[in-house]
Amino acid sequence: MKTNKTTLSDEQLEKFGEEMDAIRQRIIADLGEEDAAYIRKVVKTQRQFEVAGRALMYLPPAWPLAVASLSISKILDNMEIGHNVMHGQYDWMGDPGLNSRMYEWDNVCPSEQWKNSHNYIHHTYTNILGKDRDIGYGILRMDEDQKWHPYYLGNPLYAFALMVFFEWGVALHDLEVENIVAGKRKVSENAALHAGIMRKVKRQALKDYLLFPALTGPLFPLTFTGNAIANLVRNVWAFNIIFCGHFPAGVATFSQEECEDESRGHWYYRQLLGSANITGGKLFHVMTGNLSHQIEHHLFPDLPARRYPEIAVEVREICERYGLQYNTGRLGKQLGSVAKKICRMALPDRKVEERTSAPVAEPVAA
């Protein structure tokens, strides 16, 4: 939903930006052993769940446990490790195994392509309509300013399909199929991308749907199904966390005009108002890759995500002083809000009043 008019003066925006920069400087100066030990512990835990998941497939009574372990492994791998490492959050460690240029995740999307569409396009042009291809991913209508078309009557259906096949959606995202349909992009431009995706898809499919099932011999169908469910669980979880971080009611979108030649302060302002958080316990935050702190992630995408909770305290205090909305809520509330929006956007716009009546500005209380 567009806020249109920036509520802060240029001078305030500059001050606001400086305060954000100060947080960044302080955290960067403080990075060290604890952050390194933390991410190594998460990696170790992920590997243990993965090995346990693969091994328990040999024990049919433990099959649900095997699927759960493998699901946890894939969620940790993709979110707290993969997503964050590929943002370069741990590049300062100089460890090739945790370096954004070298890390590859347990997901059909090749990391190289994801880094372009996510780190560059999405994180630079966050929530600018027509620039940020993550608004609806070229499939959904997630904002009033996306023109309605009868195609969008299927919005809830498309969203459900995207949730189930989320890793595939992410893998195909860089192909910009919607721009090919619109005639803005040629199929030939995708040739190199196709090759990269196919390579990765083959490797992922080979291990999850052929090798590991085959290694369990007569249990092949059970292992095959278990691996598919683990991938599905990760898809559903990642989709929901990501949608709750970007699309609950009250999250602002911006026009290209208002972001032309934007100042650093305005960039921070846009990141803040273009995201939403989810409240929860420590374990919940880890399982979301700390993307439950989507606001802090958008403000500081390159800082280790384990720092977001401590940063959040300061960000909320700053928001309070500047009278800015800090969009946060329980998972259930944010999910409901997203679901409502997906359904509402399926239909053509109704009255203007209704469009502006659903901000979820929770009173800021740290």
């Binding site: 990075l31 060290g32 052993e33 952050d35 390194a36 030990a37 990696v43 170790k44 590997r47 243990q48 090995v51 300062w92 460690m93 100089g94 460890d95 195994g97 240029r101 590859e104 995740w105 347990d106 560059y120 990765k200 490797r203 992922q204 080979l206 291990k207 090798l211 590991f212």
Partner: protein, 358 residues
């Protein structure tokens, strides 16, 4: 290659552990287990020279993983340490022990360079048991398999390390020819391997050891001196290692003789970008005409102090974000114009206008 290694390096295991690879799992169980990567455990740290007021020198004994393919005398290795468990820093060190086979222990000898993060850590703080990260042995400055009858080694300062490795290898191979070992040092107290060299000199196995200290009146390196020491030295197989000015002197003395092989830690080839245009360092707001030198040198010429390490494109310490423009990798000649690209500024020279986030 044993059965275990064959299995660990198999395509099947690679497919099962995709996309992370076998080593990412093995290291979780035991840091000494590896299928491809090379790591080592420090088993001993021995102070060679400890003159008060001067940086100490130590020999570090390393037990590598079975993936270590061995080395030839004269080669060096990249060695990475995690200082305070967090930031890995990598430097190049010469191997001081004789030729090694796969998986064999070997030693590196180094001075604790006052500005050197890695050498100071290894000499002053590391303890036996510490794990380090390695490359395979590298370098062409080596003894051939068939060693000539007459050999001359010339070294200066810490350049003694590779030729010491060669000398030790010759002894182990029971070389029966004639070896002249010529070494220049600041003073006798600074002499690394002093006791061992003394013993070699007295054992009389056809090895002539000359330790010279020109600052204390010993003769300087010159063609005349070399001729007196080793008549017809230009036709004698020679290995020389030391600081650049000394090596230049040796090269002049040998003219174009094929018998000479030299090594010194050379700076990257200078000025292989293209002069012209403007180089801007955005964070500091400084800019100047592009001289074609590396981005690191141009930044330093403007008074900036970017972080750097090896200055030869190995260690990635100096990686900075090039926000705009084209750079040429001075090692490969490869040009790149991507925006917001991480480049090693020590080996990247701008071609025309260029902006860097520094």
């Amino acid at each position: 290659m044993g059965l275990a290694t064959t299995v660990l390096r198999s395509k099947a295991l690679a497919a099962l552990t995709s996309p992370h690879g076998v080593d990412r799992y093995l290291e979780q169980v035991n840091p000494m287990w590896a299928a491809h990567e090379v790591r080592a455990r420090i088993v001993d740290i021995h102070r060679e020279v400890d003159v008060p007021g001067h940086p100490p020198v130590a020999t570090i004994t390393l037990q590598p993983t079975s993936t270590w393919r061995g080395h030839r005398a004269g080669q060096h290795v990249q060695l990475g340490v995690e200082v305070d468990g967090a930031r890995r820093t990598t430097r190049v060190f010469t191997i001081s022990s004789p030729d090694s086979h796969a998986g064999d222990r070997f030693t590196v000898t180094m001075r604790a360079n006052p500005d050197g993060v890695v050498s100071r850590y290894l000499v002053e703080r590391a303890r036996p048991g510490t794990m380090v990260h390695l490359s395979q042995a590298q370098g062409e400055f080596v003894l051939p398999d068939r060693v000539p009858e007459r050999i001359l080694f010339i070294s200066g300062g810490s350049g003694i390390t590779p030729v010491m490795s060669m000398l030790r290898s010759l002894q182990r191979r029971t070389h029966r020819g004639h070896v002249t070992f010529l070494h220049y040092a600041q003073s006798p107290e600074h002499q690394i391997f002093a006791d061992e060299l003394d013993e070699i000199r007295r054992s009389g196995h056809g090895i002539d050891v000359h330790l010279l200290h020109p600052e204390l009146g010993d003769p300087n390196l010159s063609p005349a001196y070399l001729e007196r020491l080793v008549p017809g030295y230009r036709d004698v197989a020679t290995w020389a290692c030391g600081p650049a000015p000394m090596i230049e002197g040796v090269q002049a003395a040998y003219a174009d003789s094929d018998a000479l092989r030299v090594e010194y830690f050379k700076p990257p080839r200078a000025a292989t970008g293209e002069a012209g245009g403007t180089v801007s360092f955005e964070r500091s707001g400084k800019s100047a005409d592009n001289t074609g030198a590396s981005l690191l040198e141009q930044a330093e010429a403007l008074g900036l102090k970017p972080e750097f390490g090896c200055r030869m494109g190995i260690c990635f310490s100096c990686v900075s974000k090039k926000t705009d423009g084209t750079v040429r990798n001075v090692l490969t000649g490869e040009e790149s114009s991507l925006p917001d690209e991480d480049v090693r500024i020590c080996v990247s020279a701008p071609v025309g206008d260029c902006s860097v986030d520094l």
